[in-house]
Symmetry: D4
Subunit: 248 residues, 8 copies
């Protein structure tokens, strides 16, 4: 029931064609969710600057390109995660402005250059193999209008590399930390900064890392109180949450 | 926004105190969920014969008695699962008609004697230790207005005991099967009958039964196509689903 | 012991060649299971309208085509699940009427057009990636003679899309809900409808979804009492159970 | 090496008692961490309004009281989580102003009444059994100087109860959602609001809930992008992270 | 359909009251399982010397004594596993001849002194803590009419203790090996003897033994080909299987 | 130290070239395990009729052929498990008599036709997909000199197919049962026969079968006391253990 | 066969009472392991300074006291781990010199004051709750004759506390690190020192720590190459391994 | 802040250009970690003889060759683990002296021939399939300047093969033991030697070995006190830890 149809209902009541009692009954049997739709759209306005997002994995190049093209028409930024070069080629054909961020395995189209984030987001990764996930977080945060600084290869077994960046880290408004293997880095970072830390376990490792389970459990049990966790390899989610926080 | 307040809105429109346009706006900013509430209540009427249910575990005798008493006022049947004798004593003080079903660890109050189920529900259990769970299913189904027949101690290692009851089993409209340890019984029963089988893994067993996990996995992998599964020890859920099916 | 050989036994008794006492003894030592066979066949008659089913995965195109052809001779509907186009090509050569349902990855042959289900089955899926599993349920239910309506891409993170279909959902006699990732959809649907909900966890997701385990556990722990669960990605099983319920 | 001792070093250099070269050498062999200490303390100033926290579980009443008393001298708020009435009695003897928050199982001493949070924190819980965890989050957030609003018993199986509070929910700057069993609530809430959601799995449930594992996995796989997760039953951590976010 | 009712059927045929054809039909619709019962009883005769067994855990002293008393009337040996002294006291009251085997936590009544086993059964245990399980195997095997020799505290970290008994071990016809922690003993014993080895993982250990899971997995992966495994702590099962083998 | 070298030691003592005291010392420092070797060889004689076995998986065709050729020179039967046609081609080139058992994925060379087993071994499998594992057990048992009978596709969901073979099953001296999915078959077979049952879980299944884990747990928790279990897909081990039992 | 009996054998040969050939035969049939025993005893001499150890958990006070008393007679140090005050009281009655190390839950008797370790062992623990495990390592190392230094409450979330002790840590010859929760400490310590690190996961934590599993997995996946791991809560094992290393 | 810049600071103080007080302030705000760097470098000198290491898996041949070349310039030994022949070819082009150790899948460049280890390291493996992991340990230990002896194919099911090498084993200063399947070997070896044993679980096995989990759990639960464990298949880590121990 959109606004128009409800208005008609009221119109009928005003014209005496329908008694208030009957109107209520009719209203009761209409799908109230349409009203909800309206509210949701209204609420959508809060989402200005949010990129449109496609999960590329398992989709054909044609499918990715098709969806990408359609979403691009909304005028905002568009992000396709977990993509490969073949999917990018298909998108590129339709949208010349689309770029491929190799490290992040992401296709991006930046149509909205505005900065929405109030401060800086720091993205930290433990090892060189975690960079793919970290870059996904970086790209996501950038597309959502944030200034992002990254600190790579600062794992806990060489703690001085991390400490050497403490000053810079403490200037961030929110920190994303990606780590595989034992997943210890968020705890250490969490102890160094006074802001929220979003921890991303990565599937980097072998044997008893169990595809990221070890890192995940480690992060959930962090002794630092300012750490919360997203799914294994979910760089996008971390960048998204960090962006929301940075907008506040 | 209950029916009353919406009616007033229409009344104001009818009296010309409010334009249809403004009425829509006002409606838009009211909590539309109240309307939802109304619908839900309406929808509730479909739930005639459904018992009010209390999960007794972890509640004090006083808490159970208090909730039980309040729910009893609705006039329907009341069921408290996972209770003990002390909780029953507290309920009994308030409601003399409440009974304790020892085997099922359930307190019941039967205020609605009507039969809602169209056929019979069969409840089958593998071993004597599974009876607690089976009885919870039985009590639930009975309180929901079904005729229930039970077949206990018919585990797969003595298949003839089960076969001896096949005739009777095939007469049920839906079958609940409770089994711990390897959880094989639902598969065998599923092969014998042509109706839906609700499987309930029980935590009966030790060692590699891992508190019912072995039975649960066994049932989920049943080679019989007519088997669906509820949570470990969830006799209530099985009785509930079976009752819904039997009402159709 | 088939009917023929038993008849001979009775004949001998009638002719006085065998005393009733000796006949009983002889009967006792015959394999009674043959008798069971007979009963099972009889019992089979209850299964009118059940499709013959082939699990295609791991079978060569020739094997699938061979079995399919043989089963088709029974005159009923035939369904091969988890198949690919190459397997379909092999079947098609033998049975021109066979169709390939791409989304469901199923080969179907409809020889029995009768409607056996009393009402409608609703099939709901959370995301676009769950559609393969949902379609398997749809195809299964259709081949078993049911009217099926589907509601796709109505995941819980956009609850209004689900609510917009509530009216339609509540008209189904049984609902199948497919969801991967957190598997929350069956709980929400379960709360909206008053009929049995068959939940199908899908392996859609990554990281801590552990190939559908997260969704499976979520569904087993559903706070809605009318939910029962089948194996991960088991769209066929869900469609089968739903069909049995809809026939009652 | 505190500031004082370093100053002396410089003093010696100024007075010509020590060559710059030797001073560097001496500095090199001093524990540089003391310097770090200083910085950390400085950095601590960022932590104004942070409560001192004690994890009460496994500690004797005397231990809790002793630590509590010592921390109280810092002048800020003090919070002891996972405590019981006996521990509270011991604390009460030393600090008459200490209160016991029964539902949260927390002992609190409020010495700093200042509000540090910029907006409101909403704490949502699915069932009545999750309230203990939710209250821990509430108490933590309050002690950290936030305005907190709670919404209890709004589980997904009765979605209208949640929707009825959507308006209020969307006014929060950050939302904490506690849920056991299938842990579906954060996904639904995440879809309704545009701010960060901190999800807390609780150990409420039985059988295949595996002490909160099912809820944990569900939340990690949330289809809502604004959800991050803390450890099972970690109401404190959720309240802490939410407070940090609300201060930004 | 018991023998009597079938005889009547034949009688009717003999008297010409029923045609053979009709008799077959009537037979077909009788519950054939009764016949199965008879066969099972016959088959039971193969089970001479098998003890009657009660799983004591979770049963009240009265229940154990009641069942024990009833089973004792069959004249064979009776075994109640996982019992305590209170249960024994109750049994003792009814059956003065019942003994309590403390180490095995078993109540036994030996009424059949016959030896059924052809050779000797060796029962080996790794540590002193595994003895409870080992003794349950010993008692079971003895009650089933076997000569049993035990070798305790011969764990793999002191391999010489095991080797010192190799000569004796190789004389057994079947070997039961109980071990907790890493569960390595069956592999070593399996390499030393040329007969079947029944491995019993025990829940002895802590931490990453996960209640016997480590030992169980170890035994299932034994590099010795003559090892098969029973459930964690299932001394009874191992003694039972070993007895069956020793009877061959 | 072989027998020869020890004899020389004694000879030296007899000839007075070495004092008994010095001889003991020298003996002490010789590798006593050589003595053990001798014993092992002696003990080996117990292993007459045991086939030489190669685990083919992960080995190149050349490696398999090389080892196969060398072992064939011992004169006994040779068995290579988990092989493919390419490995067989390589073996065939060296040993024309070698055969490929397709279903069992095994290369066999039968050089010892003797029957060592005293009775018959029955090999039972639940579904057509379990046949690979079952055939591995069959081939192993045959190569070890046993008469083997197999019963395929007798899963528990069609219990009559199994019962129709009960008579034949009860004639076996030991039964191997292979089953994937819920792994229920060994329990049912165990209840039908009075001899040892070796259960082999197979990795057949999908979703919550977790590569055979469900079947494995089911079998370990069997309610039939005569069941012991080997590793997932370990048809060889089951055939081996069954052969040892059948030789007794 | 001890040295004495072998000497007699040689004596008989020397005296011509036994031919060398017969002597070999007789030797062959003697339990050669006795010889092994001798060797083991010899080898034992390498174990000078090793304490006798009792695992107290699950033993009665009388049992602990009995074993303790017997082992004390060997003259070396005696250690009983996982004990309580009641067990200590029983030991104390027999051995006045026995002490109770409360924090380590250990009963110790120091009879051998010698220092065997060449350098210092450092024992580090993350939180105050890990101290029980750390102290068990300390006591073990001390009883094995080592100088031990401990560093408690230096968890990774307050990295400066750890760094403040780096100088001291780098002076140890081997470091034991105990940590629960995320188990990150060994990685950080491993990066700071150039010597072997023995990591001990502790069961400290809750929720997704899964009784120490999270810490265990974290340590096994350590990005520091000098870390090896012992069982959860196995302070004794860590102290033992560290002592062996420190003796080299 | 390197030594040079600090010296300048002191110089300014000496020249009276800066007051000691201001110098402290300035020092306080410099990144103290630079100082830490210096210390770390100093500490690095302890690491003489440590090889530079590259984890080859997942890197392109060009990447491996590039890093390898750069590290080779440091003058020490270089080791690339988990590499294949294509990666080796790329390295070989740049560094003719680089060798490929096929069994260990390692590329090595030996530029430092010095022996740093004080004694011998023994590397033991259970089966032929574990050799890859064992060889990785061997290569690592050799490149770190150790004498290494290996003992392959000495699994516990043929214990005499292991015992035949006991004498040699006891001469090692530290022992690395690699084993898959049940992982029992370290326990047996641990009982035979008096030195530290580093256990490496391998992913060799199938079914319930769960990619090395069974072996890992077995080793963590070893009944031998001198065993510590590294990650599954982590031959490098074991060789590294053993080398550190052997240098002491």
């Amino acid at each position: 029931m959109n606004a128009e149809s409800i208005r008609k209902l009221f119109e009928q009541v005003r014209q005496g064609k329908l008694s208030p009692y009957d109107a209520v009954e009719r209203l009761r049997h209409l799908p109230f969710e349409d009203l909800g739709f309206a509210k949701v759209d209204h609420h959508r306005s809060l989402r200005a600057g949010m990129p449109e997002v496609i999960f590329g994995q398992g989709k054909t190049p044609l499918q990715v390109a098709g969806i990408f093209d359609r979403l691009a028409k909304h005028g905002g930024n568009v992000l396709a995660t977990r993509t490969d070069r073949r999917q990018y080629a298909a998108v590129k054909k339709k949208l010349r402005a689309a770029e491929y961020r190799e490290l992040a395995r992401a296709i991006v189209l930046k149509q909205d250059p505005q900065i929405y984030g109030k401060g800086k987001i720091a993205v930290v990764s433990a090892g060189t193999s975690d960079i793919t996930v970290a870059e996904e977080a970086v790209v996501t945060a950038e597309l959502m209008g944030n200034r992002v600084e990254h600190f790579y290869d600062v794992g806990v077994a060489g703690i001085h590399r991390l400490l050497a960046n403490r000053e810079a880290l403490t200037k961030a408004r929110v920190v994303v930390v990606c780590a595989g293997m034992e997943g210890a880095l968020p705890s250490v970072v969490g102890g160094l900064v006074g802001v929220p830390v979003i921890a991303v376990p990565t599937s980097v490792g072998y044997g008893a890392s169990f595809e990221g389970l070890a890192a995940l459990l480690g992060m959930l049990n962090s002794c630092a109180s300012n750490v919360s966790v997203v799914n294994i390899d979910n760089g996008f989610g971390a960048g998204y949450v960090a962006s929301l926080i940075n907008r506040l």
